[in-house]
């Protein structure tokens, strides 16, 4: 079952990231994702960066498919199915949201007065959703030093006291997740990672998204510190689109 929804607004968030807004009558929890189809192009997994009645996809232009999405305008239709996957767990108290690249998209619905963000990007133009954090509670990390801390994301983590947070949520490319995992390991157990791998079916059949026998589309995409620490494949190896094993 696929739903067709009309794009109502389009916002350019950074030079390479844009958001498509639409109304969709399904309940979605932060951390879940949908499979998005623009007819004529590949169907791809995308998190929802807004989960109320108005939904939002925040998309980083990458290859052909995301470029095709960038050609969409308000009034155009997209085709989605879902939501799929296990949401982030919700906790009381202060939270830390760590997002690299477009990773902040899936964390965005969790931004509130109790949350602090660590945003990492190459340069300041690429920082995503900095202004959505309350009272400047966004710690920026740029590789070129154009804003905030100069360095990679772990430099941002080193700048905060992790023990003050009930939960830490991390989203981004697997290599970044692995770096964050290594950095946080031993400091706290209250961490959830949102993993990303290439997905074909989105519903736990094709095995293209698996890590250590867990399907990210079904058992994930969110996994906690303990689960991640027991994984042999995480951060080290995965299968490519044909099923060939490659190493990070």
């Amino acid at each position: 079952m696929m739903d067709h929804v009309r794009v109502t607004r389009k916002v350019r968030d950074t030079p390479t990231v844009f958001s498509l807004y639409f109304n969709w009558n399904r309940d979605v929890e932060p951390g879940q994702f949908v499979m998005v189809w623009v007819p004529g192009h590949s169907e791809v997994p995308m998190s929802l960066s807004q989960t109320g009645k108005e939904k939002c996809l925040t998309i980083k232009m990458y290859g052909d498919t995301t470029k095709a999405m960038d050609a969409l305008e308000p009034g155009d239709f997209i085709y989605i199915r879902g939501p799929y996957g296990k949401p982030f767990s919700r906790v009381k108290g202060k939270t830390l949201l760590i997002g690299g690249g477009s990773g902040m998209a899936s964390l965005r619905p969790m931004i509130n007065e109790d949350s602090t963000g660590i945003l990492a990007a190459r340069g300041k133009e690429e920082l995503l959703f900095e202004n959505e954090f309350h009272d400047g509670k966004a710690i920026c990390v740029t590789e070129d030093g154009s804003r905030g801390i100069k360095g990679i994301i772990t430099a941002g983590i080193d700048s905060v006291d992790l023990s003050g947070f009930s939960m830490i949520y991390v989203c981004g490319p697997e290599r970044m997740l692995y770096a964050v995992y290594k950095n946080i390991q031993g400091k706290t157990e209250n961490v959830e990672f949102s993993l990303e791998r290439s997905m074909k079916c989105g519903i736990g059949l094709c095995d293209s998204c698996s890590v250590d026998g867990f399907e990210i589309c079904r058992d994930g995409p969110t996994f906690n510190m303990k689960q991640v620490s027991e994984m042999e494949e995480f951060g080290r190896t995965r299968l490519d689109r044909s099923g060939k094993r490659i190493y990070f």
């Binding site: 067709h4 791809v44 519903i203 059949l205 094709c206 095995d207 026998g213 299968l239 044909s242």
Partner: protein
Amino acid sequence: MSGISVKAGGISLETPGILASGILDENGYTMKRILQEGAGGAVTKSIGMEERPGYVPPVVFEAHGGIINAMGLPNPGIDNFGDEISKAKESSKPVIGSIFASTPEQFMKLAERMVDYGVSAIELNLSCPHVRGFGAEVGSDPVLVKEIVKNLKGSISIPIWSKLSPNVTDILSIASAASDSDAIVLINTVRAMAIDIYARMPVLTNTYGGLSGRAVKPIGLRLVYEVKKELGLEIIGVGGISTWVDAMEYVMAGASAFQVGTALWNHGRSVFNEINEGLASFMNEHNIKSLAELRGVAIR
């Protein structure tokens, strides 16, 4: 649950439910986990000579009571698949290597490599397009099927299973052609498609796909029953099994063991243990010592 252990297609299975080819069996870690969580064996994704990325998504569609898929036989090629089998074998349960090809010679090469990798049996996916006929499947040509099976049985030491397509006019002629196999596996998916009326086009990138899941159970059951009744061959049933009742129906229709694929989608990995427990308690209640006692009892 010793009562539900079976011998089927020349191998022994602690539990009678086998993971079907193409579902969660591309990555060795996944097969290992599923085997540890109740599957009696696992058939690998169908592997061919060359690496293939498969079709661009959409490759699946959720239909009423089932899934339509057109994955396009993605696979890393036989040379790249050894590690996945080794990983799966850490479960100490049988791994069955599924292979696809267009000619008897290719089937032979693939089977030999699978033997090297240590699989317990070979499953021939006889449902891919071939060149001799036009647009037809390898598995709808009895002459070709006979040649492939005979060839392999002559030189491969482990059991050979032939997985047949339901998309044929006369299953008996195909099954007869494959009768040298250690088991006939029935059924592969039923040709089907999905259209989205708002997009005004087929949903699957490949247009055509195969239907699986609950919707096809009555179709698979019939083919198993018919082949068992008319030819008496050893059969492994597959198609729409998601509960122990479904599995028992296949056994009573004549299957020695069964495979589960699409049910992983709506039931998750626990489907195998749920089925195992259901079968065991039914057998217990009816005082049946071995699943084999029930094999084919529904045949009239």
